[in-house]
């Protein structure tokens, strides 16, 4: 299946300066993450204690940290960490959320009522507090982090898909498919879900910076990604401890965080505007 609306939406996105900026930043971020081994000049884990805490030099464009590791390489690999975690967490949360949302929206009312109760319960938990609680029980680490994000994000996707399903289930084309004899799974996956991609894309792209920030925040508290794996949060923490000696680390870790968050936010908002069916051109009647 092709997506006919996408060509038009892409053009509209590029025309919007914010959307274009978002698209560029996100593309750079993804490139950085994917091509990390090619882009990074050094092994991010390679120690060189003699060269510790250097300011930017020709050999190390962003200087080094306390253990002599090249900051630039760590930043580039940090993008990979951020992206991996974000994609995994959101991928899992999204899949489960979509499934639950479809069931809630299309199934019997009692099931819907029960699921909505669960979503509301999960929604009422403040993310950070919940994260800290789980980490206390299960110990810090990438796995725990992903679990927290998944649990907290499911209701958001589920509610979105549920709302879309509720509004689409009585649409003519769905009734038409029922009249043909299409099974429920077929209707859900082939006819309902593809028509929800617009709002879904927007929510997904807006959630990625949230997860990146959460990961950075928890890593900063030494509760997230375990060192020595490079993570922007870890690097921020290293930079914080070394701030009197060298401010490079803090800036080097902070800047990509800000840019990635901005990029995804701009992209999300740009997508929302681009996919908005406001493009009805005036037709004379």
């Amino acid at each position: 299946m092709r997506w006919p609306a996408n060509a038009r939406a892409l053009r509209a996105l590029i025309r919007d300066p914010m959307g274009l900026m978002g698209l560029i930043l996100v593309t750079l971020f993804i490139l950085m993450a994917v091509a990390a081994p090619i882009l990074a000049p050094y092994d991010p884990l390679a120690l060189d204690v003699r060269a510790k805490l250097q300011s930017p030099t020709f050999a190390h464009w962003l200087g080094t940290d306390q253990l002599g590791r090249d900051t630039l390489s760590r930043i580039i690999y940090g993008a990979r960490t951020a992206l991996t975690i974000a994609l995994t967490a959101i991928g899992l949360a999204g899949s489960i959320g979509i499934l639950l949302g479809l069931i809630a929206g299309y199934g019997p009312r009692w099931l819907d009522a029960a699921l909505v109760l669960i979503f509301d319960a999960l929604n009422s938990l403040p993310m950070m507090m919940f994260a800290l609680a789980i980490i206390t029980v299960l110990g810090p680490g990438t796995g725990t982090l992903i679990l927290v994000v998944v649990l907290v994000s499911i209701p958001g996707y589920a509610r979105l898909i549920r709302a879309q399903t509720l509004s689409l289930r009585s649409a003519d084309f769905i009734v038409a498919e029922q009249a043909i004899g299409a099974s429920t799974p077929r209707i859900l996956l082939m006819h309902l879900l593809p028509n929800m991609f617009g709002p879904l894309c927007i929510v997904l792209s807006m959630d990625i910076p949230v997860v990146i920030m959460l990961e950075a925040g928890l890593s900063y508290l030494n509760l997230g990604v375990k060192p020595p794996t490079p993570s922007w949060g870890n690097i921020l923490y290293d930079g914080y401890t070394a701030i009197r000696t060298s401010s490079t680390l803090v800036i080097a870790a902070g800047a990509p965080l800000v840019l990635a968050t901005l990029g995804f936010t701009f992209l999300g908002e740009g997508l929302r505007d681009a996919l908005d069916p406001r493009f009805a051109t005036a037709r004379p009647r």
Binding site: F279, T281, A282, R283, P284, R285
Partner: protein, 323 residues
Amino acid sequence: MNPPLLEIDTLNITYHTDHGTLSALRGASLIARAGEVIGIVGESGCGKSTLAASVINLLPQAAEVTSGAVRYKGQDILRLPPEAQRALRGQDIAMIFQDPMTAFNPVLTMGAQLVDFQHAAQIPRAEKMARARALLTRAGMPDPDLTLRRYPHQLSGGMRQRVAIAAALLMNPTILVADEPTTALDVTMEAQIIHLLRDLRSDYQGAVLVITHHLGVVAELCDRVYVMYAGEVVEEALVDDLFHAPHHPYTSALIACDPGHFEQATPILPTIQGRLPDLRNPPKGCSFAPRCPLASEICATPPPRVQISPTQSALCHKAGGRS
């Protein structure tokens, strides 16, 4: 004969769209005098709604008036400053819309809105309410006081349209434009609204423009009719002449296709073959030629407007018995 209240003079309007520039109106002309009910009939894409919008001056942003004029009592309203245009709207020129729901503010009662429509009148509020009540009674509302207290969503479609008609007549406008006034209504309500409009004629000295695609409504209501096709006025005639002695092939074909036109049921219904011309590239010759049973080589040139009689004209090379 009275002088024309409204004169549309060779109006050309184009729309600037993402897909190109569309010629929505091409040299359309029309005259309306006091006491007349004028019908403007045509199918989708003929430009009738653009014509209505130009009279009430509510053309969309993308529309551009490239030439021509819309003269109200001699004055070109398209070239007036916006405040002057706004002053005319609702007072001198009033409109009834197809969908009575969207014509009203959903959060105000009908009474409040009818009073508000009279904002330009310098009379006390109680008197405005009394006028509204009187007009609602005249419009056949069974319980005007109750209606004044109701909100738009509490009334049925037919009731809302009656109130819309009453609202349009509140300020005694000189020109009343009714854009598809019965299209959204049930058949039995349509009959009642048609009767109401016919009935109100006696109270009303202005001109009425009825825009519709429904030939039955035109036959019931109108004195004179303009037939539009692809942005042009292809025929103009008195209503009886239009239905019984049309001179433009499109008019004859349109009447022949109307299912209500037949005495007996016919299993195969006539249609007009072909499609509307692409108005981004308006045809040089006759717009209807590709679909016309009478077309010949001369139709590749722009057709003349042939005056069949003082009240009837047709935009056709073959009109009036010429070949």
